[in-house]
């Protein structure tokens, strides 16, 4: 049997070589197709290999390369969990590369994108394969820096420069937390290999600290509230196919890191860790989707929606920890499978939606939803694919988003069998938050699709838009098809995830492929089941039947009449229902609490010809209450410490001397 690493590691080498090649030929016209072509091929092979290793077609021996730290080397290993995340990474990589073949032609600074794109893919692959702390952190930082360079690709725009700055700060902070976490895990002996970390014994306090640090480090990369503030700035700033990778795939790599440490390396979970995860996950989901609802920039809307989905996934992980800590392996397996399934699904439809946003951006040059509209007639293929993505992310059957969210709710419904009263009350409360988030997500994407693709164009660029190139459409179509396929045949995905849950929580869901009509059964046949295929068949047949009957008994003709104009003839397209109008009721409900929103109406005095103005002021309270004080404190400390730069040589020497004496005193007094 062939070894999986023997395929994946050379592919990483190919990607890195492509990065170097791209640096050399970036300015020539053929660079874009060559680089994206190599990336697409490498990712496709990686995808195939990863699927094979997930299904057991490739052997999973670890490998130690003589790189990295001397005497430690670089350890690599692909187990079931890594194989699954390799599927996610390489599927995202393949589709983004294919999309890039078309989208990259419109790039005005390809030399700023092409070298970093393959490097970014290579970094994400390496993080997932790493089997020791050093390699993991190195790959993690490589991935962060490559994506940072991509965020900064269009650096002339001030907003992008600021986004990249905030991203760099948060990435550095997160990596520092990870570094400390792995330092604690490795212990004083410096056992960096994951195998020895897994075998080590540690006190509960150390394990707790490592878990919290991991939550901060991986959570800040994934976009967990309140560390999410960089994400809606940085993800939209990159070129759209990179946004898709960052939102759809890189956040998943962060989740991989979290799962690897918390479920795999730390051993037995503490009961309170699940409470922490559930609370943070629920809050993140609601906060993210509320922000998304208020947003009028299409790509920022998608980025905020990523935060919501990360919250859902973390809530699923928290559920799994809660069940595992209480010895309910089957329920833990259900929750973990649901979370992982949602990881897969979100990578599919978020990439798809970002591709759609990129297509709209290419066709119109606009990201502001209130300048778009009516694109369904001008970009039919894009709008169908985007609609599929919207339906999937809104968790409507028969698409895949429904299946994973339904499974998470099935896991929440198992909470009455938990022993402790705290969790028994808390889990349904978090379920309520997730249900709210799911409903708001549906509203959010109805708004996104409706305002961008329906109605009449709100600007001339939207009026003159054309369908985008074949590669972009193909990438979107493939992802949309996969969304539908994973939605109607979820049993195969669930069975594919079984080895992971077996290894991590010591239980599996019942085997799904044997059931009649491909329905899925989370726990037992008598309790609940879902059949995506039947739902799909029902929707397809009834829709076809309705259309047939209407056309059969009414007219075949398409009739175009004047739109209802509310009694105002020839209104301007600007009077249409806008994104702001759609979000207003929800803003009224949650606005003061979540955004500190304030509405002011300025009425000119009688006789004045100036227009009346209605302005809404919204603030990001996380930014105001958490990050602004921290930034202020750092600023203050920096200003104060700045004096240290201008001391005399003797004072510096005295400082060194006094510090040494003080440390020795501490040593003398404390030991």
């Amino acid at each position: 049997m062939m070894q999986a690493l023997m395929i994946h590691l050379p592919l990483v080498g190919v990607l890195l070589a492509a990065a170097i090649l791209a640096t050399a030929i970036a300015r020539s016209a053929s660079a874009t197709p060559v680089v994206y072509g190599i990336c697409a091929a490498a990712s496709a092979i990686g995808l195939g290999a990863a699927v094979l290793s997930l299904t057991g077609g490739l052997s999973k021996e670890p490998l130690v390369l003589p790189l990295g730290l001397p005497w430690v080397g670089a350890h690599f290993r692909i187990d079931a969990l890594a194989a699954f995340f390799l599927v996610v990474v390489n599927l995202g990589g393949t589709s983004a590369s294919i999309y890039g073949l078309g989208y990259g032609r419109h790039e005005h600074a390809p030399h700023r994108v092409l070298p970093f794109f393959p490097a970014f893919l290579a970094g994400m692959n390496l993080v997932v394969m790493a089997d020791d702390a050093f390699t993991f952190l190195l790959s993690w930082e490589f991935m962060s820096l490559a994506s940072w360079a991509l965020v900064l690709a269009h650096h002339r725009e001030a907003a992008n420069a600021r986004a990249a700055y905030v991203y760099l700060l948060m990435a550095g902070f997160g990596t520092m937390a990870l570094l400390l976490a792995f330092g604690l895990l490795a212990g004083p002996g410096g056992e960096y290999a994951f195998a020895s970390i897994r075998a080590a014994n540690r006190t509960p306090a150390i394990a707790a600290l490592a878990l919290v640090l991991m939550l901060v480090g991986a959570g800040s990369k994934a976009g967990l509230a309140p560390l999410h503030v960089w994400l809606p700035l940085a993800h939209p700033a990159a070129p759209s196919h990179v946004s898709a990778l960052m939102s759809g795939v890189m956040t998943k790599v962060a989740i991989y890191g979290f799962i690897r440490v918390v479920f795999d390396l730390l051993g037995e979970p503490a009961w309170w860790s699940s409470v922490l995860l559930l609370a943070l996950g629920g809050a993140t989901a609601v906060l993210g989707i509320l922000h998304a609802l208020m947003e009028t920039d299409l790509k920022r809307l998608l980025a905020y929606s990523t935060i919501e989905n990360i919250g859902v996934i973390f809530a699923g992980l928290g559920l799994s920890l809660a069940f595992e800590a209480n010895g309910m392996g089957w329920a833990a397996a259900l929750a973990l499978t649901a979370a992982l399934f949602h990881v897969f699904n979100h990578s599919l439809f978020k990439s798809l939606l970002f591709f759609g946003a990129g297509a709209v951006l290419t066709a119109t040059g606009q990201r502001d939803m209130d300048k778009l509209g009516g694109l369904i007639h001008r970009m039919p293929a894009t709008s169908v694919a985007f609609l599929a993505g919207c339906v999937a992310i809104s968790a409507l059957p028969p698409f895949n988003g429904f299946v994973s969210e339904w499974m998470i709710f099935q896991a929440i419904l198992q909470s009455p069998s938990l022993p402790g009263w705290g969790l028994k009350i808390m889990v349904p409360a978090v379920g309520g938050l997730l249900a709210l988030a799911a409903a708001l997500a549906a509203a959010c994407f109805v708004r996104a699709f409706g305002v961008v693709f329906l109605g009449r164009p709100r600007s001339t660029v939207a009026e003159q838009a054309h369908e985008v190139d074949g590669f972009s459409v193909a990438a979107m179509a493939v992802l949309a098809a996969l969304c539908l396929l994973a939605g109607i045949l979820p049993g195969f995905v669930i069975d594919g995830l079984a080895p992971i849950t077996q290894a991590l929580v010591g239980g599996t869901m019942p085997s799904q492929t044997g059931d009649a009509w491909l329905s899925i059964v989370p726990i037992a046949e008598g309790r609940s089941s879902y059949n995506g295929l039947l739902v799909f068949a029902f929707i397809a047949i009834s829709a076809w039947l309705a259309a047939f009957l209407v056309h059969r008994f009414a007219s075949h003709e398409l009739r175009r009449g004047p739109a209802w104009d509310c009694g105002f003839p020839e209104p301007s397209p600007a009077t249409q229902y806008t994104g702001g109008s759609f979000a207003q009721p929800i803003r009224r409900v949650f606005g003061t609490l979540v955004f500190g929103a304030r509405e002011t109406v300025e009425m000119p005095p009688p006789g004045d010809m100036a227009p009346a103005r209605h302005t809404v002021e919204m603030r990001d309270l996380v930014w105001d209450w958490l990050f602004a004080p921290i930034a202020g404190a750092v600023d203050f400390a920096a200003g104060y410490l700045n004096r240290l730069q201008f001391l005399t040589i003797r004072r510096y020497l005295s400082f060194v001397f006094l510090a040494l004496v003080a440390l020795l005193l501490v040593l003398a007094l404390w030991t």
Binding site: F646, L647, T648, I649, R650, L653, S654, V656, F657, L660, V661, L664, L665, L667, A668, T671
Partner: protein, 220 residues
């Protein structure tokens, strides 16, 4: 280990501490250099004794290096530098001698307390040696802090390094490579600092580092 060898090692290391104290109160540069040469001589004796006690011939090489470079070449070279700079008549201390000596005594006490507490079950010879080495190191640092003249700081730095060598030779099994590399780094530091002295001198007509601070527009 019998009592006599231990006593001799103890005496030599203690002598190094004593000479470090002598470094503290020298206010003339020539005298400072002479005491430094004595410092290096005592160090080389101590290292040679350790070589004999531990039966480690490679330590004789270290002792020879200390004797030749630190007790010979470097003081003579610094003498010539002082002569060429024309500062052999300068007198300088920053803090009063009494205060400095008191601080030095405090430092020795501190290093004793730290070392004896931290290493309760180490080899007694190595333990005492380490305590003395730490005092020598701290006293060297104190010399650096209390001098205003760049040459005084160079001497303090090299006294500090002597403390390091004492610590390194006191511990059994330290490879020769480490000592040689430490010695060479000191020689290189000496060369670099010597060059810098002349550069500073060229630009400011003095090696009083106060001139550097004035140049940066700082008040002291």
């Amino acid at each position: 280990m019998n009592g006599l060898t231990f006593d001799i090692a103890h005496m030599l290391a203690g002598g190094l501490v004593l000479v470090s104290f002598m470094l503290l109160y020298q206010d003339r540069l020539y005298a400072l250099l002479n005491v430094y040469a004595l410092h290096a001589l005592v160090l080389s004796l101590s290292v040679a004794w350790q070589a004999y006690v531990q039966d480690a011939p490679h330590l004789y090489v270290t002792a020879a290096i200390a004797l030749v470079f630190k007790a010979g070449v470097i003081p003579i070279a610094l003498h010539r530098i002082i002569l060429r700079l024309g500062i052999h008549r300068d007198i300088e201390t920053v803090v009063g001698i009494g205060m400095t000596m008191l601080a030095g005594i405090g430092l020795v006490a501190l290093s004793m307390v730290v070392m004896l507490r931290v290493t309760p079950d180490a080899d007694p010879l190595a333990r005492e040696d380490l305590a003395f080495a730490l005092s020598v190191l701290l006293l060297g640092l104190l010399v650096m802090v209390t001098r205003r003249n760049a040459i005084g700081q160079v001497v303090g730095f090299m006294a500090l390094e002597n403390g390091l060598v004492l610590a390194a030779t006191g511990a059994k099994g330290m490879p020769l490579v480490v000592e040689i590399s430490v010695a060479f780094s000191i020689v290189i530091a000496f060369v670099v600092i010597g060059i810098f002295l002349f550069r500073i001198r060229e630009r400011f007509d003095t090696v009083d580092i106060a001139a550097l601070d004035d140049f940066r527009g700082e008040r002291r």
